[in-house]
Assembly symmetry: D2
Homo-oligomer: 170 residues x 4
């Protein structure tokens, strides 16, 4: 999954900016995200759907650091062209973030079965007097699909790379 | 809740474009939404967080047709300045929409208690051979907050307008 | 350009919701757009990049009513798979829209040459005491590209459909 | 402009995550940005309006590193509550970014007069065989407005902090 694809985009992504991708500590990936104008709404706080964008960034960068690249999957390097798609989410919006805040997106895998990945994610306030306050808590089910939208089992190479980040059984 | 506020924005919104706000049939609000470039992602289908934007449009337009305007709440016409905020969601993404599709956002209230509104929403494919197919199914809890983010009980005027759309008890 | 493609998405888009696509009056397309939470930012007004989304909706629906469908182009019905891409924009943001407002997106073609469409677009406040006020004024250059990003001349079938909407020469 | 406001959000933003804010080298601010699902569209490349979000992040972080915080301005620490708003843009979209790419947003001030800041911005591909390729080139005019949308002269404290980053006269 590490050779360059024909348009060079995988290679472009693969060899730069790993410092942008957050960090994996044990089995938890942590990605800091700044709140910009684009993330807020007229009520003065972050628009609820913006947190889903942040959580997708966290999942993507966890996969990236685990060696699973969207470009490689889409280019068919594991067989047919594949992409991840969110299948289900349970979300609790507990407290709001605001402009200029920095939040930490914390991502853990909770399961890996057939076509499904399950993850637990939190968005936590970073810094300031309320540092560590959980803003959003989520359970997410992700599936692997073809570009026509059909579910597929996780490619073995992907499964193998991700299995290392599952919590210990029991 | 119907007088113009000082910057005229409520009046601007109040007296135009009600045909844009979908329609309430019985206790179900239905809003058609077109899929544009902005709603899709590179995998060829609608980005999962886009559906949350569509569902927010549905809730806003249901409230609008029920006589509850964001501008009036934010201008403090029911007391202190208020806004709605999503508190919790459960989402199932069952099938994807694609560019040029038209989807119908269907919204029903399921409960009204204290500071909380609960709603059931569906995004359904409109038209074509798969018309009626449910793409996304959601349960949504919305709360009323001050502009500082504190929860407030629903203003009586709002509660009264919305109570008419609750399903019959039992 | 009107036959169904294999996944049915063109047909789904083609035969529903034309009332959502605004209207062409003479050579001007007009599309009403409601301002929702998603379009605003914490400063209380519409986020500047949201207007680009509205203008893209206007261009897409003008093309749709002129018989040019994104799904058909992407499915390769005019030859190889094609998509539109914005090549240049000049934008003046003259006054802001706010939550609950309705704005009218007005789109006119100003030129058609080789791979390029040029358009003039305005976003105008609809309704209220300030109805007709121009909020955003833009000149837009759009090109046709392959899915690999290479520019292509407008397919003759597309050129023919759009030529009718060019302003009279001189 | 560095004291905490009452809700703590300025302090939260001010004392964390400066490593997220890019870097000023001479008079040029550089911010790396990763391309995620949310930034792309079905044509396989980054949606044109996404670059405006990236450029706003660059401007915000340049201001942040220069000591000008949105939260402080909005909290009225320089007098009445203020915010920045884009007044005009000229944009050339020269080449596309794709999923997983890292781009560099480069921002320079070109002028400072009355209520207006003018800036020159570029989005450049970072890494890979095409590193350094300019994807988007823009001239941007930003004004300072009250929360009611009226233009204001730059507060002296802001002007002073930014003047250091103007190119040498001549």
């Amino acid at each position: 999954m590490s050779t360059a694809d024909s348009n060079g985009s995988q290679q472009r992504g693969a060899d730069t900016g790993t410092h942008l991708a957050g960090a994996i500590e044990g089995i938890c990936h942590r990605l800091p995200v700044r709140i910009y104008y684009e993330d807020t709404d007229f009520s003065g706080i972050v628009y609820h759907a913006s947190y889903l964008r942040f959580m997708e960034r966290g999942r993507s960068d966890f996969l990236r650091l685990a060696g699973v690249m969207h470009t490689a999957l889409a280019a068919g390097e594991t067989g047919e062209p594949l992409a991840f798609a969110v299948r289900a989410m349970t979300l609790d919006f507990l407290a709001p973030a605001r402009i200029d805040d920095v939040v930490m997106v914390e991502t853990r895998f909770s399961g890996l079965a057939g076509a499904r990945l399950t993850l637990v994610q939190q968005v936590v306030l970073a810094g300031g007097p309320q540092a560590g306050r959980v803003l959003v808590s989520a359970e997410v089910t992700v599936v692997v699909i073809t570009l026509e939208g059909r579910a597929r089992r996780l490619p073995p190479a992907v499964r193998e790379r991700l299995a290392a980040f599952l919590p210990p059984a029991g």
